[in-house]
């Protein structure tokens, strides 16, 4: 706040900005921000930002939406950089997010100081914004399926009267030492299910990943089971 953040509910006050960052829950919300809402008489960023400005879109959205948004901004001579993140709100507060970026090289380079401010590391995929969203959705797909499997394994161990903590310690100390297994394995064993990521948003990502799989003609059976489990 020291540098003068000014809260507002008026989008038009953002139209002069060189970069507008968005972090919104789903495709519809980002679409409304970019295209505006005629029924509400609100203009969107695509019609309001100046040529040369950049929309830095950090939401987890579908690749189809990303492509549509990029196209709309391109018509206005604006840049569109997709940069979804891995990490929860606590990681965001601590500036420890992992950022996956894609867009025109010069636009991504312009945004680098923002990435450096928001996260601990940035991965640049390529020049197609949709590809960053695909990477993010597949990452969330892997998280969802991992949680499903961890939950099933712990449930099985409990049914057999065994200590699931030892199991998770062994697995995370040997073959499964990644962040998802370590962080969520501990939570599942401790039965601490406080929401870091609320279920409707998790389900949204599972469904978006399933849609990507269908578009690509890829089979993701485990993910389909996750949707049923949700």
């Amino acid at each position: 706040m020291a540098l003068g953040l000014q809260p507002t509910t008026d989008f038009t006050s953002l139209f002069h900005c060189q970069v507008v960052v968005s972090m919104l829950p789903d495709d519809d919300a980002v679409r409304d921000v970019v295209f505006g809402r005629e029924d509400l008489g609100s203009r969107g960023l695509a019609s309001g930002l100046k040529p040369g400005a950049i929309h830095l879109s950090m939401s987890t959205i579908s690749t189809a939406a990303a492509s549509r948004l990029a196209g709309e901004h391109a018509r206005g001579g604006q840049g569109y950089v997709a940069a979804p993140v891995f990490g929860n709100p606590d990681a965001a507060k601590a500036r420890e997010l992992f950022i996956v970026a894609a867009g025109a090289r010069t636009d991504v380079a312009r945004c680098q100081p923002l990435f450096d401010s928001l996260g601990q590391r940035t991965f640049v995929v390529d020049s197609d914004p949709a590809h960053a969203n695909l990477v993010k959705l597949l990452g969330n797909m892997m998280t969802a399926t991992t949680l499903e499997m961890l939950g099933e394994a712990v449930a099985l161990l409990r049914k057999r009267g065994l200590d699931p903590k030892s199991f998770v310690d062994i697995l995370t100390g040997t073959m499964f030492s990644g962040r998802v297994h370590r962080i969520y394995g501990e939570r599942i064993v401790g039965q601490r299910y406080a929401a870091g990521f609320v279920m409707p948003l998790a389900l949204k990502d599972v469904r978006l990943a399933l849609a990507e799989a269908a578009t690509a003609g890829a089979r993701c059976h485990r993910l389909a089971w996750c949707e049923i489990g949700c």
């Binding site: 706040m1 020291a2 540098l3 003068g4 953040l5 000014q6 809260p7 507002t8 509910t9 008026d10 989008f11 006050s13 953002l14 002069h16 900005c17 060189q18 970069v19 507008v20 960052v21 968005s22 972090m23 919104l24 829950p25 789903d26 519809d28 919300a29 409304d32 921000v33 809402r37 509400l40 609100s42 960023l45 040369g52 950090m58 993140v85 929860n88 709100p89 606590d90 965001a92 507060k93 500036r95 010069t106 380079a109 312009r110 945004c111 680098q112 100081p113 923002l114 450096d116 401010s117 928001l118």
Partner: protein
């Protein structure tokens, strides 16, 4: 306009940025932010950073 009415919209404008379209952002440029939910709020709090520039 937004799907989740329980979350307040965070729309903010932060610090000015330089106008050079090919250059990196600087403290003379302006950055706007539109966010919703816990992630939106958390990120809004970290945006106006002295690291930019």
């Amino acid at each position: 306009m937004f799907k989740d009415g329980s979350n307040s919209l965070e729309a903010s404008e932060a610090t000015p940025l330089d106008s050079g379209s090919n250059s990196r952002l600087t403290l003379q440029d302006e950055v706007g932010f539109v966010g919703l939910g816990r992630m939106g709020k958390a990120m809004a709090a970290t945006l106006p950073s002295p690291d930019i520039g």
